[in-house]
């Protein structure tokens, strides 16, 4: 049997589509964790990145934080927090957030900081307040790059959220981990396919989001 056959029989089995271990349940769980982690990471990283970028200050500190965040192994963090705190969402959320903050933080800061200074100067000279300059002049121009950072973070979260299953949480990781344990390769391949599919859908969502929110006057350059 090859991979395609595994995948085919996994999805063809109607029993897979029902119950607490069914595809819809696991998918929803997975999407739920991912969205929650992305929202928390964005709430932390966006304001910091926007403000530091606007003030054109703190770039070095931010990149140090980001590098440190990237250096932490998600799985190690998960195990450590599980040992400390036991069951709960905390051991799952923290590694995902730590994973997602650096790309959002760094791209947001860079995107805002590299906005052409002359419209900003013009805006200030016309008497725009600083928050207006940030949200009405800098952000719309930096938006494609910022969305790019969020997209990277989202895709990383979606694929890494599989580890939640290690600490007995649900999500698509369940299929992979249980499958490996039970030597049920149909399940492993099915789970992996679903994760990959979800990552693709995430890309699509961000593509649509940028179509909707980025002004046609803003041409992507960097």
């Amino acid at each position: 049997m090859n991979v395609l056959d595994f995948a085919h029989s996994f999805f063809a089995d109607s029993a897979r589509w029902h119950g607490y271990d069914g595809i819809p349940t696991r998918l929803l769980e997975h999407v739920g964790y991912s969205l929650e982690a992305l929202a928390i990471a964005a709430l932390i990283a966006l304001p910091v990145g926007l403000i530091a970028g606007h003030l054109r200050r703190g770039g070095n500190a931010l990149s140090m934080v980001a590098t440190a965040g990237r250096a932490l192994p998600s799985f190690g963090l998960l195990v450590l927090l599980f040992i400390w705190f036991g069951f709960g969402t905390l051991p799952v959320m923290v590694p995902l957030v730590v994973l997602a903050v650096p790309p959002i933080l760094v791209t947001t800061y860079e995107a805002i900081q590299t906005v052409d200074p002359s419209p900003v100067d013009a805006a200030r000279g016309m008497g725009m307040t600083e928050p207006r300059i940030l949200f009405q002049v800098e952000l719309p121009v930096a938006l494609p790059v910022i969305l790019g950072g969020l997209r990277t973070a989202a895709v990383q979260i979606v694929s890494t959220a599989t580890i939640a299953a290690y600490v007995s949480f649900g999500g698509l990781g369940r299929y992979i981990i249980d499958g490996l344990y039970q030597k049920d390769y149909e399940k492993v391949v099915g789970g992996a396919t679903l994760v990959a599919g979800l990552a693709l859908v995430t890309l699509l969502v961000f593509w649509a989001l940028s179509k909707l929110t980025v002004s046609p006057g803003v041409r992507r350059s960097g």
Binding site: P119, R124, G125, M126, M128, V214, S215, G217, V218
Partner: protein, 374 residues
């Protein structure tokens, strides 16, 4: 009036960009700050809208210190135009223009109406309203920048090298447009440039700054060209200031001769030398100049227009300056300039010698009459 009162700007790194500068900027006129790069022009301009705060001294607007009002309301009362226009790339032309009216709380409808009016005023076709900045040429972007600065009808306009980044032809168009708009609106304009020709062309008053932010001379352009205060200003004005100064002398005092003007269908009796001119100026049926011909070589009833000599660029007495008249005479192989009316019909001719005489007369009168530079 904007009064700059012994203002000094020392940046945090110790650079003294402006040193005890005092300047009275007249209302409803264009005051140009000109000088070599790095002499403190931008710093001076930006102190007026408090983008830069002076280290010492004060700036008064109609008698009141500019620090007395909230900084953003001060800025909203002064249009601001910068070198690369600084348009918002995510907003359409019309939405760029309505920026300040919207900040001031105008309704979108009223602001857009005003924007449409301004687009016309600055010479932008209304079909451009929905375009984004990247879809415009450099000159068009600059026009949008000017319209945006004028949108809330501020009494003061601050312009920092607004036309420096466009090519010379477009720049000339923008300069002419600015003079026309100023004729209509009468704003108090402070205009920064490093180009002395631009300064002389646009300025009612010109402040020449030297490196270190010292004021070298503050005078109307004609006076600057006539009597530079020191070798620095003289050097900065360039080599041909004598010729350029002629821009400020009107050409209407020139004595025009009409004798040498003959129509294309002139009979033989007309084709003889007249006045002091060794040539005859042949005109078409409407009286527009075609070119110069030697009286002996012209055949009555069959003048070969292809063999006429070029008449150079004609000038309009009253509108054009002695510089334009002299230019016309120098450019024609006959050494005579042709004067035309508004319709382009020849109204007279004048020799280089006569123009030279007018120049000497004008110079002997104390100061040139200040007209638009041309």
């Amino acid at each position: 009036m904007i009064r700059i009162d012994s203002v000094t700007k020392r940046y945090s790194d110790g650079t003294v960009a402006v040193d005890r500068l005092s300047l009275d900027i007249p209302d409803r006129a264009i005051t140009v700050l000109v000088g070599p790069s790095g002499c403190g022009k931008t710093t001076t301009l930006r102190m007026i809208n408090r983008m830069v705060e002076p280290s010492e001294g004060s700036i008064l607007l109609d008698g009141a210190d500019i620090r007395q009002q909230p900084v953003n309301s001060l800025r909203r009362s002064m249009g601001y135009v910068i070198q690369n226009a600084g348009l918002f790339q995510h907003r359409t032309v019309i939405d760029n223009i309505i920026t300040v009216p919207r900040l001031l709380g105008w309704s979108k409808g009223k602001a857009r109406e005003r924007a449409a009016e301004l687009m016309e005023r600055v010479g932008l076709d209304s079909s451009l309203a929905k375009r984004y900045p990247y879809q415009l040429s450099g000159g068009q972007q600059q026009r949008v920048g000017v319209a945006r600065a004028l949108a809330a009808d501020p009494p003061v306009l601050l312009m920092d090298e607004p036309f420096s980044a466009v090519d010379p032809v477009v720049r000339k168009g923008l300069q002419d447009e600015l003079l026309r708009i100023q004729d209509e609106l009468g704003k108090t304009i402070v205009f920064v440039t490093h180009d002395i020709d631009e300064a002389v062309k646009l300025g009612t008053m010109v402040a020449v700054l030297r490196t270190g932010g010292h004021l070298a001379q503050f005078a109307p352009p004609a006076e600057l060209l006539t009597a530079p205060a020191d070798p620095f200003v003289e050097d900065f004005l360039g080599a041909d200031r004598g010729i350029r100064r002629l821009s400020f002398f009107p050409s209407d005092a020139l004595e025009l001769e009409t004798g040498p003007i003959v129509p294309l269908d002139a009979d033989a009796t007309r084709l003889t030398p007249r006045g002091g001119a060794p040539y005859l100026l042949v005109t078409d049926a409407d009286g527009r100049p075609l070119g110069w011909g030697e009286p002996g070589a012209l055949t009555a009833g069959a003048i070969d227009t292809g063999r006429l000599l070029s008449h150079g660029r004609p000038f309009r007495p009253g509108t054009d300056s002695l510089r334009t008249a002299l230019d016309g005479a120098v450019l024609s192989p006959t050494g005579w300039a042709v004067a035309v009316d508004g319709e382009g019909r020849a109204v007279g001719v004048v020799s280089q010698a006569a123009i030279g005489e007018a120049i000497r007369t004008a110079h002997s009168e104390d100061r040139p009459e200040v007209t638009a530079a041309g």
